[in-house]
């Protein structure tokens, strides 16, 4: 069962310009691991050198921040949408 991961504009160059990608996995961690296997260029943007999720990239399960759920162990149900929301600073 694949879930939809919404890719934000700054990361679309690394998913062949796609704004959403379907990926399999039972937890957020599995989904993201499969995502970065499929699109290797994403990896340094999502994970640091120690393999931990970067703190300026937030991951949401539907409208909830996974930091307040079970983080990467958060289970995913069919139909759930995952969003990656990186910080952007533009304003001018």
């Amino acid at each position: 069962m694949a879930n939809k991961i919404l890719i934000p504009t700054p990361l679309r160059p690394f998913t062949g310009k796609q704004d959403a990608v379907d990926v399999e996995g039972a937890t957020i961690g599995e989904l993201l691991a499969n995502l970065t296997t499929k699109y290797e260029g994403l990896k340094p943007h999502l994970y640091n050198e120690q393999g931990k999720l970067r703190s300026f990239v937030n991951v949401y399960l539907n409208d909830e921040d996974i930091r307040y759920l079970e983080k990467e162990k958060t289970p995913v149900k069919p139909g759930d949408t995952i969003s990656i929301i990186p910080s952007v600073a533009g304003g001018r």
Binding site: P10, D19, D63, S83, I85, P86, S87, G90, G91, R92
Partner: protein, 385 residues
């Protein structure tokens, strides 16, 4: 504070709504908002705040109006190119509404001046364009207990929220740490749809006006994401982080810090485009590159911009592989010669150069200043964008 007849006439469409009325309009007249930046977000925000009758509007900026601003910074006009943004904005706002006070601060916001600048204002409207200032605005707002109507834009996507209200989350609750420099491209590098800051800046102004009048449901604890291409608004939940270093239960940041350092950005040194002024191991200059081209030296010039940028102008002899494609197309980049990587200004090419070094390339140099500096220093026929 009583409204004059002139004000009653001007604000009549507000006054006839019971949610605003005379009381709300008087609150606006007493209210004050400090706009950080008179750029993409600050332009529409300040215009609407002035039109709405917010009594005092402050603007902090130190920039000069440039032709490339006019595609989105609607407070400035073509005759204003070359003028200070503050002078231009002040004239425009006064023409729109002479009954309000405009204060201008021609300075770069810093840890030294932020608290003093913010103190007289009710609300801070963050329309800056870089991470150090974003964190500075946030922390100053938390320390002073002033709401921050936040907006941020990138290409076709915008974000908005209200931070640092009493009991509400702050920017650091959302993003405890900034990305390392170079990982997220700036507006100048990434581009931005001209109308996008119009939407986001207007949302910021809406929130400021609501907060001043105390009406409606403010965008507190909610993170609004707008995708202009798909025309979709999404709302994500935002929680106050009890462990937040600024607004948490045991804050460790109790005064303003060095935000350049916090964001890993070296304080901007005066740029000198001469050989020897760069780190020769990892960087080169357009002057050096020109010498190499003229001497027909053996090297590989890699352009990591996007195809549409390549169409605008290019440096002779370059090979285009957009940054996002570099990992898949690394085989096309020779290993037995010197590699010089360039982009528009040097940010993306630094990322690409670091990647190539990771891949075992030993002689990789980043072109400082990118094709923009090439146009400035070597060949002005290459258009700047």
């Amino acid at each position: 504070m009583v409204l004059s007849n002139e004000e009653v006439q001007r604000y009549s469409r507000h006054l006839i709504m019971p949610e605003v009325g005379v009381e709300g309009q008087e609150k606006l007249k007493k209210g004050s908002v400090l706009c950080i930046g008179a750029g993409g977000l600050g332009s529409p925000a300040a215009l609407y705040l002035a039109a709405a009758g917010v009594g005092t509007i402050g603007i902090v900026d130190f920039d000069v109006v440039d032709f490339s601003n006019l595609q989105r910074q609607v407070i400035h006009g073509t005759p204003d190119v070359g003028r200070s943004k503050l002078a231009s904005a002040k004239d425009r706002l006064h023409a729109l509404n002479p009954l309000i006070t405009i204060e201008t601060y021609e300075t770069a916001l810093s840890s030294k001046n932020a608290l003093d600048l913010f103190k007289p204002y009710d609300i801070i409207l963050d329309g800056t364009d870089n991470f150090p200032t974003r964190y500075l605005v946030n922390d100053a707002c938390v320390l002073l207990g002033k709401p921050n109507t936040y907006g941020s834009i990138f290409r076709f996507e915008g974000q908005a929220s209200v931070f640092a209200t009493k009991g509400g989350p702050c920017y650091r609750c959302l993003y405890p740490e900034p990305p390392p420099p170079g990982l997220v491209p700036s507006c100048a590098e990434g581009g931005v749809l001209g109308v996008l800051p119009g939407v986001i800046g207007t949302i910021q102004a809406t929130e400021a006006v609501k907060l001043i009048m105390g009406i409606g449901e403010p965008l507190i604890g909610r993170f609004l994401i707008y995708d202009a291409l798909r025309m979709k608004f999404r709302e994500l939940k935002l929680k106050k982080d009890p462990e937040c270093p600024v607004c948490g239960t045991n804050p460790t940041v109790r005064e303003l810090i060095d935000y350049e350092q916090f964001c890993g950005v070296a304080p901007s040194a005066p740029e000198v485009a001469v050989a020897g002024a760069t780190d020769n191991e990892t960087e080169t200059t357009v002057t050096e590159l020109k010498k190499k081209i003229d001497a027909k030296d053996d090297f590989f010039l890699l352009d990591v911009r996007e195809p549409n940028e390549y169409q605008i102008g290019k440096i002779p002899g370059s090979t285009l592989i957009p940054l996002g494609d570099v990992p898949q197309r690394v085989g096309e980049i020779p290993r037995d010669t010197e590699i010089i990587v360039h982009c528009k200004m040097g940010g993306r090419s630094a990322t690409a150069a670091a990647f190539l070094r990771q891949q075992g390339y030993t002689n990789v140099k980043n072109l400082k200043g990118g094709i923009t500096d090439w146009s400035d220093t070597i060949d002005p026929t290459v258009p700047k964008y």
